[in-house]
Symmetry: C2
């Protein structure tokens, strides 16, 4: 069975001047990968005729599937559709279903009059098969040429995702005989990438050729991923599981979860399983921990809320931190975060609480407490654990590192509350 290879082309000047971060490609790559389609390249080009044309030429030389997003908007800077007409031939026609969809979206959903510019979005080259867009006005276009499949989709993430899930992925599955591909992922915290690599060196060197190991460091944690690819699914599945079990044993000490989920999701499962409730008292993280937790569907089962006490007055009035504690130790101190945990447990009436206080930068540092100094406390009514961290990054990264360390500290505390 041949390896089915895909390329992703994203179109738009906004990608090349950096005004927009490309999240589409990552999602598409993930979904293609799950189907056993290997993404060999991702290319971003501007709204420039020759560059788009050349990218289509180049990628079709190496891949059988070329997925294209962007450049389909109703405004003058979007040239992709006229280029596709020229590239694949044919003439521009109105697609009646797409036209009905444009009208429906404007008249029923947006409750705005539909204008000529929007109606033009229903025009497509007659050389393509139209993939309807149920979430927006620009239809998708499926072309075939010299045995290659080209699929053009809008760049709006939820429109592209809907089209991929409903139509494109099922059509690709039907068209190609796809190889078996499987991943197993685990997340570690508290050990650096190179120490981890040293620790599992023998394991890595003895891995069978069909399995690949990848290190994915992020926010002070390292994700390890085993990937297997081939044809005999049951045999590969069992070989992968066996190797993954060995790996799991080797890194047990640092393992946060053996699933491909985030630390907030892993913690959420622990809380839900125990029937526990959680509150956060956030100073320096400014609500980011609460946001991470509430990004997970169903988090209302265990998360009751947060007091973001950015100002010291909120610490004293709402979290009952003693003004004397603040005066004697400062807001960034062990004593303060301990009282914040107590205050959150009391005020929000939960089983567990997390508290953070630190200096995120770029300003606010002092010689005794430089930027990056953070105190985190986690606890329940019996016991509180506090730990000091020193980060040395920019504001956003310091916030992210504080949040993930706080979530991991609580996860460990629930596991072993007195250690």
């Amino acid at each position: 069975m041949n390896k089915v290879v895909a390329s992703i082309i994203t179109i738009g000047d906004e990608l090349l001047i950096g005004q927009v971060i490309d999240t589409n490609s990552a999602w598409m790559a993930q979904e293609l990968n799950k189907q056993g389609i290997w993404v060999a390249r991702r290319v971003a080009v501007g709204d420039v005729w020759d560059d788009i044309w050349q990218a289509l030429d180049e990628e079709s030389r190496r891949s059988s599937i070329i997925l294209i997003t962007g450049g389909l908007g109703p405004t003058a800077d979007d040239i992709t559709k006229s280029l596709l007409l020229k590239y694949f031939g044919g003439s521009m026609v109105v697609d009646e279903k797409a036209l009905a969809n444009v009208k429906w979206i404007f008249e029923r959903m947006l409750k705005r009059p539909v204008i000529e510019r929007n109606l033009q979005q229903a025009e497509v080259p007659d050389s393509c098969t139209v993939i309807q867009n149920r979430r927006g006005t620009a239809p998708g276009m499926w072309f075939e040429k010299d045995g290659r499949i080209f699929m053009s989709m809008p760049g709006v993430p939820h429109e592209m995702k809907g089209m991929m899930t409903d139509d494109v992925l099922p059509a690709l599955r039907q068209r190609f005989q796809l190889p078996f591909i499987a991943h197993r992922t685990l997340l570690t915290a508290g050990i650096g990438e190179s120490f981890l690599a040293e620790h599992i060196k023998t394991f890595e060197e003895a891995l069978p050729a069909s399995i690949k190991l990848a290190y994915l460091p992020n926010y002070g944690m390292v994700r390890l991923r085993l990937t297997i690819r081939g044809e005999d699914a049951p045999a590969l599945e069992s070989l992968l599981q066996q190797q993954f079990d060995t790996l799991r044993g080797l890194v047990a000490e640092w393992m946060v979860t053996d699933e491909d989920i985030s630390i907030q999701e892993a913690l959420g499962r622990v809380l839900k399983a125990g029937g526990y409730t959680l509150a956060t008292a956030e100073s320096c993280t400014g609500g980011y921990i609460a946001h991470l937790i509430t990004s997970i569907p169903g988090s209302s089962h265990y998360f009751k809320g947060s007091v973001v006490s950015y100002d010291n007055e909120v610490k004293t009035n709402t979290l009952a931190v003693s003004p004397d504690t603040l005066a004697a130790n400062g807001a960034v101190s062990e004593a303060t975060v301990r009282e914040m945990v107590r205050g959150a447990l009391q005020q929000l009436n939960t089983d567990f609480a997390i508290a953070t206080s630190g200096i995120m930068g770029p300003d606010g540092g002092t010689p005794e407490k430089p930027v990056g100094t953070v105190w985190i406390a986690v606890g329940n009514r019996q016991n509180i654990l506090a730990q000091k961290f020193s980060f040395r990054f920019d504001r956003l990264r310091n916030i992210e590192l504080t949040a993930t360390n706080a979530l991991n500290l609580l996860r460990k505390f629930i596991h072993s509350p007195t250690s």
Copy 2:
């Protein structure tokens, strides 16, 4: 003056299986653009020898500057350095400064013993000029070949950014005669992309050839960007300003800010200028609004904190929402968000407050209040404004849309509190 063209190559399997979102390229493109260097392509390839080699060949055919990130880690899946040695020739040598840096980072910063695997990071091909990494262990490598510049940097964002800012950008400025390039950006809310395009059609068609207009829709808002490029800086600057003033007048009704900043930054400036304080009372946004606000350095000047009242008990206990109001109207109601604003103003003692309550999905919808139903209220002690929204996206997008709409509602309210 010739247009100086750059390509960005990002290396790593994690980019092609979608496990990591590439934020580096956007940042690099932004910084290069500011210098007048045009990024023509961004290419992502896996940790695959032939693919990296081919990307270097292809991009050096079209660009004079090739910036490469990733694949320099201490683990076995990282092959970029050996490939660069082969590609540019020479032999591997230990760079003494890089070695001292690796030792310093481990012994002083991380307080862990340095191991062989880490020491190897100080090895570089002697065909390159080493760019020291002050934030991590992998040094940068600057190669030149056939008049092209190739710069290899680590994929860790803050390491790459530091290297670019401290060394790479200054060196490129010295090397090339760069054209003048300038952007002016404004942000609109409350009008769709196609209506905006229709509204400024005459303006757009009359734009001089040196100026390009781009539409950048995001989170229900549309950013408009004018870009000018050429040689005579003062003349271009004044032409751009003149066109931007016209555009600003045309879209005044929907304009959030005429700077290239986020809505939270725009609101922060309004609050700071007026000496006002703000609190949020967040149910469905779960702390995300507080996070957006506190992502901005200096936000402690106007933001006092938030009560994330995910559970109704927190709404009644901490925000003093009446249990009768909740029983009669439900948590997702005008009456509830109005009481949440009052509660936040009172409990957190601020001039203004924002409150949100809604159903973010995927579960929790009812026929009367389907997923995406959101109530937002903003106000001060004199007046409260509440508005209902119906979003129809996934959980994260609903949270983001609620947050940006809430921030914009408050911005408008401060501007005109009784309308």
